[in-house]
């Protein structure tokens, strides 16, 4: 028995169904079909059932493409199971395709044997042509080898909702919920929370709530009665996950929460300055809705102004945060250099996307690591962090603020388009259980020297407004004590080293590198960072289950690197570094430790599949895959 947030209780069912350890379902349809909505509802129903899960929405690049076109297809994938779920799944086991275009676009990803649920009612000639099918794929052999459930969902939806008095077009809009009903039945998931949600969501349009509920129930009923002959029915049990209160969270929601909690724990107002850009904008949107939490959001005229305003805010004693994606970060680099020179805290969030240049804004990649670590003029060290999963965005965002304010340094936090939009269940933390890390602003005028350093090499933070501490700072090299302009050669050497050492000393303030899975030495270490976490974790599990001596090392702190990392890596015969770029972390590891780390590179705008990582591992180990 699991209990639902609002106190709903759900009885466990006991019918006989095929038991699955995990399953991947993809909903797909036209942008206007409400795919993301049913995806979200199904996710919740699944979570309530106790499964672990991961989800990913796949929006079209176009805002709103013409109906029925392939480039207007929207999709939502969920992987859920009775075990720990680490990825959104290599390939769907079940595809729900609400129109021919959705089938067309997704077919290539579908392994033979997969189940396809079609809205046969939308397979008219015009629709087929729009989708680019020469014939009807249902009848021309295209779908041979698949388990096809061809239902006229359109028609059944209209019938189910006829009583509502809505227009035929409005009735048809409910076909997403009809399909959801069927899928709920297939996986034995409860309808109640969704029915409750519909009531609440459409409180002001009760007829819409009603129609969708009718459709949902009708789809579900069709499963039960199986008018079409027996439908596949499965059971996916609860996963062994930690007890507690859960919600789902996307990476960008988690980022927003983490930043707000970080600022709170530092005792600071947060000034978040950004300029819209895909896929970073969602962070701006989330924070714009959190003004009550001591957050100021500012949509600047461009990325440079956003970075500058954030830096101005930090100068004034708030924590300035700025956020963008690769091309926007490129524009911020001059300002980041000023933050490094002035030694002010600043958090820069980069939601990476496929590049170079505008690239593929809606597609994921992790190719801005070079930019993060090396991408500024001059010797310009800063702290670089990367989040591994949507929920990890929360932790790393808080960590970014902590390190920025306690080391008076800019911190670059890397996420990516996948993390931004993917979601997973999140054991909601008790924020008060994590210690605060309040900032202490200097207020004593006695002996104040703006660039004097403490034992960690960190200078004092002073809030303008503090009497007696008036001083001047800037981007021209600063005297090592007074901060006044200095062109003295020895001073520049000293300050360059001080900036360098200060950032390296952050290594004393971060955990030593742990091994995610496996031993601390062995034949093969797979070293990852960022959103490759999931596929690597799963692939390593698989090979370990096969008895191989492989370990998974996942880096969250990319600069400075954890103190023990070199030693750890030297304990392995082979080091494989899967990255969604042409091999960037691998450059850093090879340079730092002179270890023969090898790159596994993928740049298709899509995450690694588990198999891709597995194959590279078996190749590295010299075993058959």
């Amino acid at each position: 028995m699991v209990s639902v947030g609002a106190g709903v209780e759900i009885a466990e069912e006991t019918r006989s169904r095929t038991s699955l350890e995990s399953v991947v379902v993809r909903f797909a349809g036209d942008s206007g079909d409400g795919i993301q909505v049913v995806g979200g509802r199904f996710t919740l129903a699944t979570a309530i059932g106790g499964s672990d899960l991961a989800t990913f929405p796949d929006f079209p690049a176009e805002i709103r493409a013409p109906t029925g076109t392939t480039f207007g297809v929207s999709a939502f994938q969920i992987n859920f199971g009775a075990r720990r779920i680490r990825t959104i799944g290599d390939a769907p086991d079940v595809l729900v395709a609400l129109n021919p275009a959705a089938l067309k676009v997704n077919l290539a990803d579908l392994p033979r044997g997969a189940t396809i649920i079609l809205d046969g009612g939308s397979f008219k000639e015009r629709d087929l042509k729009k989708a680019g099918f020469a014939g009807d794929p249902r009848h021309d052999g295209t779908l041979a080898g698949y388990r096809v459930v061809d239902i006229d969902i359109s028609d059944l939806t209209k019938k189910a909702t006829a009583s509502t008095g809505l227009s035929s077009r409005e009735q048809l809009r409910c076909k997403n919920f009809w399909s959801l009903g069927l899928v709920l039945w297939m996986f034995d998931r409860p309808r109640e929370p969704i029915l409750a949600w519909l009531k609440q969501r459409f409180a002001k349009q009760p007829e819409v709530a009603e129609a969708n509920s009718l459709a949902l129930n009708a789809g579900h009923a069709l499963g039960e009665t199986a008018e079409l002959g027996p439908l596949p029915a499965f059971k996916v049990g609860p996963a062994p996950i930690e007890a507690g209160l859960y919600r789902t969270v996307t990476g960008h929601e988690a980022l927003a929460f983490g930043l707000v909690d970080g600022a709170r724990k530092a005792g600071l107002r947060m000034v978040f300055c950004s300029y819209p850009i895909t896929p970073a904008s969602a962070l701006l949107h989330h924070l714009a809705g959190m003004k009550a939490f001591g957050v100021t959001t500012f949509q600047a005229e461009d990325e440079i102004a956003a970075a500058c305003a954030a830096l101005g805010a930090s100068y004034a004693g708030s924590i300035g945060v700025t956020s963008s994606s690769g091309p926007g970060i490129a524009l911020k680099t001059e300002t980041i250099g000023l933050a490094i020179g002035a030694e002010l805290p600043l958090v820069v969030v980069n939601s990476q996307r496929a590049g170079p240049s505008t690239g593929m804004p809606t597609k994921t990649e992790q190719s801005d690591l070079y930019q993060a670590v090396f991408g500024r003029n001059a010797d310009s060290p800063l702290v670089v962090l990367a989040a591994a999963t949507p929920a990890d965005c929360f932790v790393m965002a808080r960590e970014a603020i902590r390190l920025a304010v306690h080391h008076m340094t800019p911190v670059m936090l890397l996420t990516d388009g996948f993390l931004a939009n993917a979601s997973e269940p999140w054991l909601i933390p008790d924020l008060d259980a994590t210690p605060a890390f309040p900032v202490r602003f200097r207020a004593e005028p006695e002996g104040y020297q703006p660039f004097a350093r403490d034992g960690r090499g960190v200078r004092d933070w002073v809030k303008p407004g503090t009497p007696g501490l008036e001083h001047r700072i800037g981007g021209i090299e600063r005297d090592a004590l007074s901060g006044n302009i200095s062109y003295d050669p020895a001073n520049h050497q000293r300050m360059t080293e001080a900036r360098w050492d200060k950032v390296l000393a952050v290594a004393d303030d971060i955990p030593e590198q742990e091994v995610e899975q496996g031993e601390t030495s062995g034949r093969l270490a797979v070293v990852g960072w960022g959103s490759t976490y999931g596929p690597i974790a799963r692939a390593v599990t698989t090979l370990r289950d096969r008895g191989q001596s492989v370990s998974h090392i996942h880096l969250r702190h990319l600069w400075p690197l954890p103190r023990n990392l070199g030693e750890l890596l030297r304990g392995f015969e082979h080091i494989l570094v899967p990255e969604m770029n042409k091999g960037q972390l691998v450059t850093i590891l090879r340079n730092e430790y002179l270890v023969p780390a090898q790159s596994l590179s993928k740049v298709t705008g899509k995450p690694f599949t588990i198999h891709e990582v597995e194959d590279a591992m078996t190749a590295a180990l010299g075993i058959s895959s």
Binding site: V2, V271, F298, C308, L311, A342, D430, G465, E470, I473
Partner: protein, 340 residues
């Protein structure tokens, strides 16, 4: 908000221990003096005052003012200053930069600060040249300016800082001249008193790379006829005996200079300066030799400031939301409990 401690202050109280490093004879010295006088006159609290600048000779300014100071990067001072005001609207923020800093690389930030109406006092030192980088022409340089980057003379038409600002929707624009130590502090005080973005263009002589660029209207010998000092509510008169003035040109929508001694010209035709009239301000801003150059506050028409509106909106939000509780927010919406 603590009321500033009002004790009598001297200009020298606002001088730092740094050696001032402009070229001997540079107009920046005079501006520094006028600003220090202004700060003394308004008894500015050094602790709550911040000078922000970009890069350039002008932008070295903060190092010479004993308040908080941030010498940032080329062109970005208005953006940095905006962030400072967002973090702490109670700070008194001045922005200083040159014509290159504010109108070339930084033109967009200036424009957006003006449009948003962030509560800043912006001083644009216009010497019609890039001083610090050794004399290239700037966006305010006149056509034909010979400079290291335009040995054959520049060919692009200059921009008028104040006309551009008015085009961007500025609510306060004024013009001062470096050497006018009587006039300039008054203009600066007016700019400082204005709530919202106040832009003061200060005509500044770069003695090394553009000496005498403004002599045509700043020279003692000609200034009376070559400048018109505008004052709200007063007639737009100029000339040694104030026997010249501006009146509406035939057809309207334009102004012309006339002499009261001319036939057919009457005192009553002379326009009265109205600092709330953006069109008049635009026409005044555009006057250039042989017309008299306008000095003083051309436009002053306050509007709500951006920083105040931001805070007001946040307050509303907070009032609506009640005590902010992040733990509760995380738990809002669909949640479920796992028994483990």
């Amino acid at each position: 908000m603590n009321a500033p401690v009002l004790k009598p202050r001297q200009p020298k109280d606002y001088a730092t221990d740094q050696e001032v490093r402009w070229c001997p004879g540079c107009g920046d010295y005079a501006i520094l003096k006028a600003v220090q006088r202004t700060l003394a006159d308004i008894a500015a609290d050094p602790a709550r005052t911040v000078f922000v600048s970009g890069i350039g000779c002008a932008a070295r300014f903060p190092y010479y003012i004993e308040t908080y100071g941030f010498h940032t990067i080329h062109g970005r001072a208005p953006a940095v200053a905006t962030g400072i005001k967002l973090a702490n609207p109670e700070l008194d923020v001045w922005v200083v930069g040159g014509d290159g800093d504010m109108l070339s690389i930084g033109g967009n930030h200036l424009m957006h600060a003006l449009r948003r109406n962030v509560d800043l006092t912006i001083l644009l030192f216009n010497n019609e040249i890039y001083g610090l980088t050794k004399g290239q022409y700037s966006p305010t340089s006149r056509i034909g300016t010979r400079s290291p980057s335009t040995p054959g003379g520049s060919i692009d038409r200059p921009v008028s800082a104040l006309r551009l600002a008015l085009g961007a929707g500025a609510r306060f624009v004024a013009r001062g001249i470096d050497t006018q130590q009587k006039v300039l502090p008054d203009i600066l005080k007016r700019a400082h008193a204005h709530k919202g973005t106040a832009l003061v263009e200060i005509i500044q002589n770069c003695i090394v790379y553009n000496d005498g660029a403004f002599a045509g209207f700043t020279d003692r010998a000609v200034e009376a006829d070559a400048q018109i000092h505008v004052e709200h509510g007063a007639p737009l008169l100029f000339g040694k005996d104030r026997r010249k003035g501006l009146r509406l040109a035939a057809g309207g929508l334009a102004i012309e200079a006339v002499s009261l001694d001319e036939e057919g010209v009457e005192e009553g035709q002379i326009l009265i300066h109205d600092q709330t009239n953006a069109m008049l301000a635009t026409l005044l801003a555009m006057l250039e030799p042989p017309m008299p150059v306008a000095v003083g506050v051309l436009f002053d028409s306050p509007a709500p400031t951006y920083d105040a509106a931001v805070r007001a909106q946040e307050e509303t939000e907070r009032a609506r939301a009640g005590t902010p509780d992040l733990n509760a927010l995380l738990r809002r919406g669909p949640t479920w409990t796992m028994p483990g």
